[in-house]
Symmetry: C2
Subunit: 136 residues, 2 copies
Amino acid sequence: MSRRNTGVTPQVVNAHACPVREVLDRVAGKWSVQILVAAAHGPIRFTELERGIEGISRRMLTLTLRNLERDGLVTRTVHPTVPPRVEYQLTPVARELHETLQRLTAWAERNRTYVAESRATYDERHAPDLVDGGGA
Amino acid sequence: MSRRNTGVTPQVVNAHACPVREVLDRVAGKWSVQILVAAAHGPIRFTELERGIEGISRRMLTLTLRNLERDGLVTRTVHPTVPPRVEYQLTPVARELHETLQRLTAWAERNRTYVAESRATYDERHAPDLVDGGGA
DNA sequence: CGGAATCCTTGTAGATACTG
DNA sequence: CAGTATCTACAAGGATTCCG
């Protein structure tokens, strides 16, 4: 097979028809948003991202960055210095996305306690015997 | 263990700290958004959802609905009639989310061709020999 | 420094069959 | 009609290692 799994968008030929799904699939990744946020302040280096995101592995950083780059959301600039220096920067389109994402964040913050309480109530009502040694 | 995998939010005790992640995790599911959209027009029955969403399995519909219900985004109303009749409806909070999601959709539609072209360009530049029998 | 390749675990989702 | 249970597949993500 010529195209092995490179880790870059495995399901390339999907064409979900629905643009919503496309955004979501892109943004849903565990790290995409955090990278977008981290890079929103200006050009940022690979290592800075790696240390700033906290919890991300080298692999996932590279992978996510590549997908973002592929989608035209970040640009990759290699400075051919002696210690290689690579900087990532958001494209204008990505900045728009970033703004939209902030509205989502706002919603999340407004309703985080509501959701948390809903969950607690639900869990209690549907498995009261499981939350606390009742089944043992 | 008392709590087997019921299919409802397997990684229950995560507490990502970041509210953005919470939204995303919830919305990122393959079907959540479509259900939100389908139910936005008013109360809708299980079967209506199943037939309206096209491609969703009974299982995933149930699962997603449950998670949505758990998070306080949909309400489930059982009408104790002879053929069971269950209706799902968005909560006010979910309606807000739905609106926010529409902005994301707008972004997606505005930039769908941009993204598509970016991908095409990227793929061509990074694996020209793979797109067209070059490696065979 | 930045990244690619490999291996492994686990969540997410599909198909199918059974039930109240 | 509206689920639930089980079994399976796949792909996202983590850890580690090697390379320019």
